[in-house]
């Protein structure tokens, strides 16, 4: 949203009943922060009704254009915000609290669809409070709970004192798998500095848009990793037919086998898996230097080769489990002029389960890559997404490296509503990279990646 700088920022506060919304709002209203903050609370709100800056709303949701879900907005909010302009002193912030059972989309969309509101207010961020203990009762069942997490720019994991450290790690992983872009804060008793929830500018393309898509366990694009110590020798991979006519893999060189190094390599491999792959037929040599290799499995049995570009420890990431293709790795040794092949076993392995069990699973798909993109192809792709996938894509954000353009190109969207602009010049020495994040339900990572790759300028 590119509105004037005089607009009043609005934060949307979502979260289930009992998650701590009321506690947080009472703190905001009673704290001595010197700001004039109005709270528009939901119909069943419990925050001080005798406070002139607390206004009750009746959550009147309607469709701006017949039947279009993406133009669903909040009529009562439009009326209240209109009235709130009629004051001598300007408000510094407005917080809109939604009921526990509300989908945040209509509130967010109100700030895009309504011309007058767009003129005077700017949607700042969606903040979701999660009850760290009780969220497990809803996270698998309730569409609203999932939507609130998926839409969030900021998530407060509240009541962390009621759960163990392990439970908290598990919850954080789960939340990151749904929404990789939200900033997560852990709180007790909804205690949080206001700077973390107000003036975030998450919807403002004029603000310094930075993406930091962190990828969570369930979202790895590979299923298997093996750590090997490779010598400066020729290796051979024998493979049988498997469940797929091709098999993607990549190598990441490791300094050591510490957990930190392996974690970093896993993130590197995610990025590599998002890049254009090199397709190899049988008998070809595999690239070991951070390249995605697509091995074509065309025969009952085939062999590929590789020679590490440097001897040492490597992590090998594979799209499918090696056993699904009866994969065998051997090293070629030449003794007295006679080549022998010895089996090579990994020193450590890890498996990464795919997460396709639920139909309406909410997830994030992140893309990070340094290729230049065709503006025309990007336009076609985004148009396709808005036309065909907008109901499933709740939020999307991106920074793009457009071919022939010295400006960063930024965009963001909520369902069918979309903003894009040239943002600033790439700085000298800055890596021009594309960073895109999609958050939504039923996202098909492979399809998104395939379509993305078609935008790359060859």
């Amino acid at each position: 949203m590119m509105e004037n700088k005089n607009s009043i920022p609005v934060t949307v506060l979502t979260g289930f009943l009992g998650s701590g919304k009321t506690t947080l709002l009472n703190k905001i209203l009673s704290e001595n922060h010197g700001k004039k903050i109005a709270v528009i609370e939901n119909e069943f709100g419990e925050v001080g009704v005798d406070n002139e800056l607390v206004i009750g709303a009746d959550e009147e949701i309607f469709e701006m254009n017949n039947g279009c879900i993406c133009c669903t907005v909040r009529g009562d909010l439009i009326r209240i915000l209109d009235q709130l302009l009629k004051r001598k002193d300007k408000l510094d912030y407005i917080i809109v609290e939604t009921t526990g059972m509300a989908n945040p989309a209509p509130v967010a969309q109100t700030f895009w669809v309504d011309d007058e509101i767009k003129d005077k207010y700017s949607l700042d961020a969606i903040v979701t409070i999660v009850d760290a203990k009780h969220v497990w009762l809803h996270i698998d069942e309730s569409a609203e709970c999932k939507e609130q997490i998926a839409f969030a720019d900021v998530i407060l994991l509240n009541k962390t004192d009621l759960v163990s450290a392990e439970e908290l790690v598990k919850l954080e992983k789960r939340i990151k798998s749904m929404n990789a872009n939200a900033k997560i804060h852990k709180t007790q008793n909804a205690d949080i500095d206001l700077e973390h929830i107000l003036n975030i500018q998450a919807f403002d393309l004029d603000a310094k848009i930075e993406l930091n898509p962190e990828f969570a366990v369930e979202e790895y694009p590979y299923e298997w990793m093996g750590i090997y110590d490779f010598a400066d020798a020729e290796y051979q991979i024998n493979m049988k037919e498997g469940p797929d006519p091709s098999f993607d893999l990549c190598f990441v060189k490791l300094a050591d086998t510490s957990e930190a190094v392996i974690t970093k390599a896993q993130k590197q491999a995610i990025k590599t898996f998002a890049m254009e792959s090199k397709t190899l037929k049988a008998e070809k040599f595999i690239n070991t230097n951070n390249t995605l290799n697509t091995l074509l499995i065309e025969n009952e049995s085939q062999t590929f080769y590789f020679r590490p570009h440097k001897a040492g420890i490597y992590a090998v990431f594979t799209q499918h489990g090696p056993e699904e293709f009866n994969l065998e790795l051997t090293v070629k040794n030449t003794k007295n002029g006679v080549p022998t092949f010895e089996n090579v076993e990994p020193t450590l392995t890890d498996e990464f389960a795919h997460n396709h069990e639920h139909d309406d699973i909410i997830s994030s798909v992140g893309i990070e890559d340094t290729h230049e993109l065709s503006i025309q192809k990007v336009n076609e792709w985004i148009s396709y997404l808005l036309r065909e996938k907008a109901i499933d894509i709740f939020r999307m954000k991106g920074i793009l490296n457009i071919a022939g353009n010295d400006d960063r190109f930024v965009f963001q969207g909520v369902h069918m509503l979309f903003d894009a602009k040239a943002d600033r010049k790439w700085k000298p020495g800055e890596t021009r990279k594309n960073q895109i994040i999609f958050i939504g339900k039923n996202l098909n990572r492979e399809e998104l990646l395939a379509k993305y790759k078609k935008c790359i300028v060859k």
């Binding site: 009704v49 002139e52 607390v54 206004i55 009750g56 009746d58 009147e60 309607f62 701006m64 254009n65 907005v73 009529g75 009562d76 439009i78 009326r79 009235q83 009629k86 004051r87 001598k88 309504d114 011309d115 007058e116």
Partner: protein, 349 residues
């Protein structure tokens, strides 16, 4: 639009001004006493100020509501007026003395407005989803709570105790003393405003998606129709006293439909394009087709629907026009701004 002329108007002294004062607060609402001798101004902080309309002398001042003020409504028959506020109260006052006659509590924090019946015997309130009917002493006669969302418009029918309400989902007709709505014109849309023609034949509703929906009265299923093509929301609507013209605002344009007893479908409306910025106030002079309109930049213009060639007659008050209010005799116009200016002007027509 003639920008050169606008610039001239902005720089010229206000030739229509009778007197002016500065209230130093957002003026939410204005109202004239029935004899046109007094003017009441209510501001955002809840203060009500009473002026001698002829001289501009400040007669009295009170804090009418603890939080913000929402509206002022003068009884058409007695020397009393009602204010509503953001403090969940409805207050009744004596115009001459500013004595508090009645203080009525509401369950809704914001009492949006009240509307008097044409003879001044009753008034209705919009209190969120609830509408109540009071007699002129402030006693509750009816409480209606069947609205789906906040009631955005109420208007009484001439010579009757029937009134119409609009909220999300349709228009309802009520009659004083009857327990339930006597009619419901169902229509799924979010409403902004309601205006009932003085001849009682049409109810027009402005909607959030920039249309005006009409219900002919008496209503038959399917007889409603719509005027679309607006490039902005229609919040302001008004009828001439003879129900011949119906005006609507649409961002910086005034669109006027000719009714003359029948529906204006298919006709090309009269369009007045004098304003450059969004129109915030517009209404007809009583018993005429003359219009006063004000915009976000502070321009106030006078137009005559039947002489559209007379253009650019007006002045500029430099700040958003928050309220325009014709005197009951139609000779003067009270105008106020978002920064607290109050100006009484003599109409050029």
């Amino acid at each position: 639009m003639d920008y050169q002329r606008l610039k001239q108007i902005a720089n010229a002294p206000n030739e229509y001004e009778v007197w002016s004062d500065y209230l130093n607060d957002y003026v939410i609402d204005l109202a004239w006493s029935n004899d046109a001798k007094k003017i009441i101004a209510g501001t955002a902080s809840g203060k009500v100020t009473l002026y001698d309309a002829e001289t501009g002398k400040l007669l009295n001042e009170i804090s009418a509501h603890q939080n913000g003020l929402m509206s002022i409504a003068v009884s058409p028959s007695k020397n009393i007026f009602v204010t509503t506020g953001q403090d969940a109260t409805i207050n009744m006052w004596n115009i001459d003395t500013l004595e508090l006659l009645n203080n009525i509590a509401s369950n809704s924090q914001w009492v949006n407005f009240v509307e008097w019946s044409k003879d001044g015997k009753y008034f209705t309130s919009s209190e969120g989803k609830v509408v109540r009917v009071f007699n002129e002493a402030g006693d509750i006669i009816n409480t209606f709570d069947q609205h789906e969302s906040t009631v955005c418009g109420i208007q009484w029918k001439q010579d009757s105790y029937v009134f119409a309400t609009a909220c999300y989902g349709g228009v309802r007709l009520f009659e004083v003393g009857r327990e339930k709505d006597i009619n419901f014109f169902e229509w799924s849309n979010s409403m902004l405003s309601l205006s009932w023609s003085p001849d009682g034949k049409f109810i027009g509703c402005g909607t959030q998606d920039s249309r005006v929906h009409f219900f002919p009265v008496p209503y038959e299923n399917g007889s409603d129709f719509e005027m679309s093509g607006y490039n902005g929301k229609v919040k302001l609507m008004d009828w001439t006293t003879d129900s011949k013209y119906f005006l609507t605002n649409c961002w910086n344009e005034i669109v006027i439909w000719k009714f003359a007893g029948k529906s204006p479908q298919g006709q090309v409306p009269i369009s007045i394009n004098t304003h450059v910025e969004r129109i915030t106030q517009v209404s007809f002079q009583k018993n005429s087709a003359c219009i006063a309109s004000g915009d976000e930049m502070g321009f106030v213009f006078f137009h005559d629907t039947e002489k559209p060639s007379i253009k650019n007659i007006g002045t500029c008050l430099s700040q958003e026009i928050s309220k325009l209010c014709w005197s009951p005799d139609g000779l003067n116009l009270a105008a106020s701004t978002a920064d607290g200016k109050l100006v009484i002007m003599r109409t050029p027509f």
